[in-house]
């Protein structure tokens, strides 16, 4: 191992040590009492990014696209303007394609994937893919949740599953919606 690698790993370990207590604190700095799934703050987005203290812009599902026809969808000007910025959106967590995946799909309404009337790729167009740093289990599917994180736009295919997404949020915080 050369010196540089060692130095980098030390920095990473230090960051991780600082990060651990953060996971147990809510936004107001108090210890959270919710179930473990909501204790995981900063799941994917590193806390030292410049937008750490940035106010999250609220986003609604019906604001994602300004145009839609059989020839495709058009991102709304609002969505385009929030690209790379911190956003907050509420919706329902659709069941992950596999329990071990480090992403899930956020939908406007609760989803049921019907094996015969639809296919496994049969998602509505207005969905947001939520990226996580690690797989999560036991999130509620029947109650709305609010996700905060950095907005990503554009075609992306998940290597493992082939799942295609256009709108993604690299999750910083997930909590039950009020």
């Amino acid at each position: 191992m050369d010196k540089l690698t060692r130095r980098i790993s030390r920095v990473i370990i230090a960051m991780m040590l600082i990060w651990v207590p953060l996971n147990w604190l809510g936004q107001d700095g108090t210890i959270r009492n919710e179930s473990s799934l909501f204790c995981t703050r900063a799941q994917a987005a590193p806390a030292w990014l410049p937008w750490f203290n940035e106010e999250a812009a609220p986003l609604e599902f019906n604001e994602l696209y300004s145009g839609a026809s059989a020839l495709g969808l058009e991102f709304s000007p609002k969505l385009e303007s929030l690209k790379g910025k911190k956003v907050r959106i509420s919706g329902f967590m659709a069941p992950p394609l596999k329990p071990t995946l480090n992403f899930f799909v956020l939908t406007k309404v609760p989803m049921a994937i019907c094996p015969f009337c639809s296919t496994d790729a049969d998602w509505p167009d207005d969905i947001v893919l939520i990226k996580l740093s690690k797989a999560v289990a036991a999130l509620p599917f029947d109650r709305p949740i609010t996700v905060t994180g950095q907005l990503e736009l554009g075609y992306q295919m998940d290597e493992e599953t082939g799942f295609v997404s256009l709108v993604r949020i690299v999750a910083d915080n997930i909590e039950e919606a009020n």
Binding site: S69, E74, A138
Partner: protein, 604 residues
Amino acid sequence: MYNLKMSTLCLSQCFRLLAALLVVMSLMSGTTVSHAAYSAPEVPHINIMPIDRAKFLVGQKFDFAIEVKTDIPATAIEVLVNGKAAETFFGKQAIISLDKMSTYRINQVAFPQTGKVSVAVTVKTENGIEKRAVNYDIPADKVKKPAKNVILFVGDGMSLQARQMARILSKGITEGKYNDLLEMEKMSNLALITTSGNDSLVTDSANSASAYATGHKSAVNAMGVYADNTKDPFDDPKVENIIELVKRTRGMSTGIVSTANITDATPAAMLAHTRKRSEQNFIAQEMLNPQHRPDVILGGGSRHFLPKSVPGSKRSDERNIIEEFKEQGYSIATNKTQLKQAGTPDKLLGLFQLDNMDVYVDREVTKNPAVLGKFTDQPTLMDMTKTAINVLSKNQKGFFLMVEGASIDKQLHTMDWQRATYDTIEMDKAVGIAKEFAKKNGDTLIIVVADHAHGASITGTYHEKDGKTGREAVRIYADAGWPTFADADGDGFPDDPNPDVTLAVQFANHPDYYENEKFQDVPTSPAIMADGKAIANLKRAPQGGDLKVGNIPASDPSEVHSADDVPLTAEGPGADYFKGIMDNTEVFHGIVRALGLDGRKESK
């Protein structure tokens, strides 16, 4: 005297014994005649595809395949067709692979003569031999006056009860007599169709549509193939389908129309061959294959036709299938206005939604912007059917058109019988348009059939006028009276999907869900998946409803298909074929018989 008496007694005793014996014998023979024995189904070690008792159109192409499972590797597979070596009979060499799972295959063969065919397979291993024989039928049945055109309507999931709900809502009932019947009910012939595939009692739409399109059974999720043992969804032994047959042998025009993704199971099964119906991107590009390229393609699901870089696409490549169709001379329409402007080109591709088209209630009655979004200009199934007939009927050689009312099924899955019923009525109106066309020349066979059923049944009516709610407000027997649907504008659709007295429709199977017996403003799933289990959707009955505990495995969040037989109605030349109880593969044989097709002929 004494002797005489004795002999008379003896005679009468003998007579009685004889009579008793005769009675017993006749009873025994009667038993063997009326109750054929059968054994419980088991998977044979030698799997022959096509299956035993398969029926073919003479000259219909298929892949002949055998799969053999043995404990030790097989050393030889010998196949005789009508006593001749299969390779000699078909005039083609077999591809044989010998192991513990051995295969024998001759692709693209056909039976050149009508009649019975027997296939005998002998498999040799070092331990001995195993044999299996199957029989095929290649009927010679000919119709006196053939049909020029065939229009096949598939009401997806349209059970007998689904038809009746549409009759009640569309036509109304007075003093127990219906004010009128549906268009699909006013047809000359009626048959009941069984729905099972060769793999399972309960079918899905790919499997059953495949039976209609090929005359052969298939398996759940498969179309145009017999399902083999391999995982590859594109290598299963194929069977020639109706679109391929009418194009190859007659040069007829063909069309598919659906309110679903046009790559969805039912329309796809008219032309494609795959083990996996979810391969919708493959199915979209297969529609370009000249072997089975339909001249008219109208429906939803453009997302499988757009290159992946276009937002909304579900493709995994950059192929622009819409552009490729344009290059083939197709006119393109993406909304109702463009469909009208298209007129009657020779070839037409119309895709009106990225996903499934919205259902009639949302599209035409409530026009709820929360449901439709930007898709406010979608054609009706009537518009699409009329255009398809206008375009296809230009071909003097005739046409085959399949029209699917797709969301009857999709809405019954989500236990939304009101939305399903409006879509059944929509398809009925499309049947009316086809009947009007058929009336002009009398050379069109129209068939209306479902592909499987749903366990939805009419218990009575439901109202809360006396303050009762939930199960107490389900009105049964004399309390049911009549629902208060009305159609003041006479368009065939009830004005209000949610009248004060509605139908009490109950489902034989369902997941955990909330029931409030009312029309829902937006389509809402009855249950959602949570950690691999279906749980009742709280959004289903926001005003409150009874929790119904599910009676199917919690792995499925929707109401599922039932194995019930389904009604078929038909009218036109060749409709006489459809009567009594028929296997679902007979729908194909009724179509090819009506058209007088001969698979041995090649169109110039």
